[in-house]
Each structure stands twice: as C-alpha cells, then as structure tokens.
Symmetry: C2
Subunit: 338 residues, 2 copies
C-alpha cells in the first residue's frame, strides 16, 4: 500500500494562526476493508471556513480535532475500490482532507460524488463547479432572489465564491458590483470576470469613505448583497442598502482571530426593512444538482472562467492557507498534490 503524507492540526492558534499550528506526518495506507475505497487526491481546496474549525469554540461545525488530518475538500482518482459505488479511475469529489490518499469508509461513500472530468480541468470541481460555486448560487438565487435590473454586490469579489456570483448575477440581468482588495483584483473582477464595477476597499480608511465609493458604483443603491467578510465592508454596504433589500451572510473572515467585529448600525435593518440570512451551503443538498448544472455549463462554455492560485505540493498547504486568510491568493486557492 502507498505511503501517505498527512497534515494534522498540531495545536490551536492563539490569535493569528501560523504554520507552527500544523504538522506534516507520514503513515502507511492500510489495506482496504470490504466497502472501503482508496482515492489518490489530485487537488486540495483551501477555504476560509477552515480558520473557524481551528478554534475550540461554538460554531456550526465541530472544531477540528487535534492530531487528526485537517478537514478539506479534494478531487481525486479512485485507485482501488472494494465498494460497488465507485470503480478504479473514477474521478470523485469529497472531503478527503489535507493528505495524498484518502480511505473512504463505507458509511461515508455517499458523501463523495463522481464527476465528469471531460469538459474542464478537474480543479474546477473544488471551485466554480463545487462548494464555492454552489455557495454563490444559493445566496444569490435562494436568499437575494434578484430581479433583472436590480443592483447586487459581493465582498471578496475576486475569490471563488465572488467570481461565480458575478457570472450568475449577470445571467439574471443584474448590475453586479464587486468589492475587493487592491487595484489588480478590481481590474480582474471587471475585465476578466465581467462585473459592471468593482470598489477597492483598501483605498478607504473607514466605512463612510467606502460607502461613498459604493454610492458612485451603485447609483441606484444596493438591492442584494452577499457578505463574505464583515467589519468595515459590511458597515459600508449597510449604508447603501435599499428598502426591501436582502443580504446573504456566508463569511465573517475578519472576525476569526478572536476579535468580534460589530455591525455599527443595525437600525438600518429596520429603516430599510431588510432581510438578512446566514447559511451554510452543505445544509441545502436539494439545490446542488440544479446549481452544479448551471455552473458546469458556464465553465464549459467559458462564460465563467475564474483564475486559480495553485500551491505545489502538500507541504506548501499551511503557508498557502495563511496567505488565503490575508487575501494573497488570486481566485480559488488550491494545492496540487500530484
């Protein structure tokens, strides 16, 4: 059996995380038992939610256990199977973790799905045609539910969720405006992703200044917003939300280091009769087939062509993850394992 390389959570961060929170270990892959499947992972996805799992605090998911393989989405190839659901050479997507090889237990086989790798790079199943893409789809279609002509916005617009959101919103006839950090990302959001405009939050020292830039980019106000960040960006957006506007809340990345970030003016919820809804896309399996169909067609046709930042080799994952938390990546952050 092949030798496996595994990254485990070694200790929990005190404040800002560092590479010393992780440890790379080696272990032999055990012989397969009846019902098990062995997958060689090709790509590992790095996502902001992993930061929350590193803490030992109440959240929508249990904390990452110490000494255990870090949780993470993967796409890979079945190299051995003792389960009728999967055959050798199948390409499967699931939560294989930060490791080269994953043994799928019989009771977990249903959490992996077989995908068709013929239309585009299999890495997209971790981004636009995977969890981030469906996240954008759910927030836009099910919570914001925009009408053609409405203005919708998204923070972290150059990321995997933001890029899919932009394409989905344009397909529905919306004006779509991104919020991103830096001129290079904003140029990408407008020129490559096809957003109508993008505001660089790094040009603004406070929420009032940022909200003025949003007013220029959204002259009719904001009807729907997808929040990935929190803090100053959220405060600025709140000042521009229209009456009867909707906000999907999917990330509060700025608050993960133990500093809860307040919402400065929640009275805007009442003044503008807003609806704000938090969600976790894994809790809505009923939408995945419809969402993946639309997203897959968009990537295959080139309507959605998101960039990826690919770190090389499992050992590079911790550094790449810390970079992701600081916004150093451009588009979807992946680790190529093979």
């Amino acid at each position: 059996m092949p030798n496996n390389q595994i990254i485990v959570l070694d200790n929990r961060p005190q404040g800002e995380p560092s590479t010393s929170n992780f440890k790379l270990i080696s272990a032999d892959t055990p012989a397969l038992q009846e019902g098990q499947v062995l997958v060689r992972n090709h790509y590992l996805s790095l996502d902001p939610y992993m930061r929350g799992r590193m803490n030992d605090s109440k959240s929508y998911a249990a904390p990452q256990a110490l000494g255990q393989v870090m949780v993470g989405g993967t796409v890979g190839e079945v190299i051995e199977s003792r389960n009728p659901k999967f055959q050798v050479a199948d390409i499967v997507v699931g939560r294989g973790g930060w490791q080269h090889f994953t043994v799928i237990e019989p009771q977990s086989v249903g959490e992996y799905r077989k995908v068709d790798p013929s239309r585009f790079s299999m890495s997209h199943f971790l981004g636009a045609v995977g969890m981030p893409g469906v996240t954008a789809w759910y927030g836009l279609v099910k919570i914001i539910a925009p009408k053609a002509g409405e203005t919708v916005t998204v923070s972290a617009a150059s990321g995997a969720v933001g890029s899919a959101y932009g394409a989905l919103a344009k397909a529905r006839g919306c004006r779509v405006v991104g919020i991103a950090g830096g001129q290079e990302k904003c140029d990408y959001v407008v020129n490559e992703l096809g957003f109508d405009d993008c505001v660089d939050y790094k040009q603004h020292a406070d929420a009032v200044s940022l909200s003025k830039a949003l007013k220029v980019a959204c002259p009719q106000g904001i009807d729907g917003h997808f929040e990935n960040v929190g803090g100053m960006v959220l405060d600025a957006v709140m000042m521009r939300m229209n009456a009867f506007s909707r906000m999907a809340v999917c990330g509060m990345i700025a608050g993960y280091n133990g500093n809860p970030l307040p919402m400065s003016n929640p009275s805007a919820i009442l003044i503008n009769r807003m609806k704000i809804e938090g969600f976790i896309v894994g809790e809505h399996p009923e939408v995945w087939p419809e969402a993946l169909q639309e997203l897959g067609d968009m990537v295959a046709s080139g309507t959605l062509s998101p960039r990826e930042t690919v770190a090389q080799g499992l050992a590079a994952a911790p550094e790449a993850f810390l970079g992701l938390l600081k916004g150093k990546n451009f588009g979807k952050q992946l680790v190529k394992l093979i």
Copy 2:
C-alpha cells in the same frame, strides 16, 4: 364649527427630546367641503415611532413637518359627514393626529376604518386590536412562524406589542419569555399576561450577564425573537439564539437619540444560520383583516387583557410621550381627549 386644539412639532430635538419641542395651538375647524368627514377624536395613541419622525433624517417615513399637527393614531366618532363612506356616529380608527378634531380629506377616507365598539373599550383599537397588535401578529406569524414547543422571546414585553405577542405565541403552543424593565413589569408580564417567564434587564449591567439570565429562562435556547429595543438587549438575545432561529426587528428605541447602537457580534447570524427581518406593519395591509379578527376575539374573550396607561387631555400628550420613551408607561400609552 368647533374650535380645535392641536399639538404641532415646533422644533426638532437636539439629542433627547423635551416638551419644548411641541406647541399647543388653537384653530377653528373649517366648514366641511364635499367629500370631507369631521371626526371628534376620543383617544390618541402614543408610540415610539413618533420619536424617529421628530428627526430630520432618512427613515422609512418622511420626517414630521415643523409647524404641522403631530402624526398619531386616533379613534373617534364621526360628528359630520359629507362623504357616503361614513355616517354620523360611526366609530373610526385612523391617523387623526394630536388634536381634538380631524377633517378627513376625500382622498384619505380609505385610510380610516370603521370599527365595532360593542365588544370592548374603543381604546383597544389603538392597541391590541390595532397597529401594535397587528405588529406583534405579523412579526410572530409571518417572520418567526413558530412551531408548537418552540421558545420565543420579545423585548419591551409589557408594552402594547409585547402583550399581544405573548397571547398570540401561547395560542400557538410556544414557550414565551418576555424581557422588560423592572420587577413590577415582569410580574405583570407573567401573572397577568400569561408569559412563561420574564427577565428584568435592569438587573443586568451588561449583555453577558443578561444573556445568562436568558439562558435560565430559555433552557432550550431561543427559536424566535421579536426586537423592539436594540442595544444590550439585542446583544444578549443574540447569544442565545438557536440554529435556524428567526428574528423580527420592529424597533430600535435605544438608538433614537442620535447614538447608533452597534450589534456586537453579527457573526452569530452566520454561526446560527439566522434569519433577521425588519418590517413596518403598515406595508402589509393584506394581513390586517386576519390579524384583527384573531386579536379582537382574544380581547373580547379576555384571553388578552392588556393594561393601558391613559393620560388625561391633549395638553398632557408631550409629557406622556416623553415618559413612554423612558419606559414609564405600563402597557399601551394613550391620551384621552374627551
């Protein structure tokens, strides 16, 4: 024609409002034109939303104009009519303002509704069987939509909205817990209004302390909350909201004096996949008939028997209004005009 007494907004408050912001003036009631209706107001309703109107700032409604009669709900008797919709002696509810007599313009006749005063005091049409009651109904039934057995909470529980909310929630099989200021109000909420429990926020110096008391009163957490206050109460409630909980936001009274009160930890929206929705009940006329039917039956049967605080005479209205903003009233605050 009778002489009219009118309270106008004389000047806008700088910070905390005072009686000097109001002025009592006198004017003859003009002879009725074709299509007009003359109403002698019996009761004037005082409500927190009026504080927002006194400011010259963006809100869901235009600011109260200076020098004009203060806006306010009234119930009264038609004493002269040149409009076929209303007859002399009809009892009508509408926004007649802070004055003894109201001339209803032809184009505004539709904003008044005729009520049946035979089952209970006409004052209830300004409270439990009026706007506050329908407000409670909409927030509970349309936004929170509780299942039997769920725990629901409400701030300002002893007020007109809170008392109706409690009765409506009990009728739906919920555990209902109030939040109110002072032991006397909490006793009233439990002993007279029939809530399962009530937490006195004045016993707590901060949100963490208040949230601990809420944990005792709500051992299964909070599934639905109706927010009338904001600030510390909102922060404490947010710490106890369950996964997939719903919050109806109808008031942020604590922030009206120019100090926006932050929401300390909006990441709870995501962590608990909450839905938060602000609303103004006047924008949902479709629910009024059903809501008023249920509320009227509850008051007529005695299931809902809310207390009223009644100030005597129009001149007492400003002082009573300022007391309302400070929580001095007990139940619905009214002014008896006749």
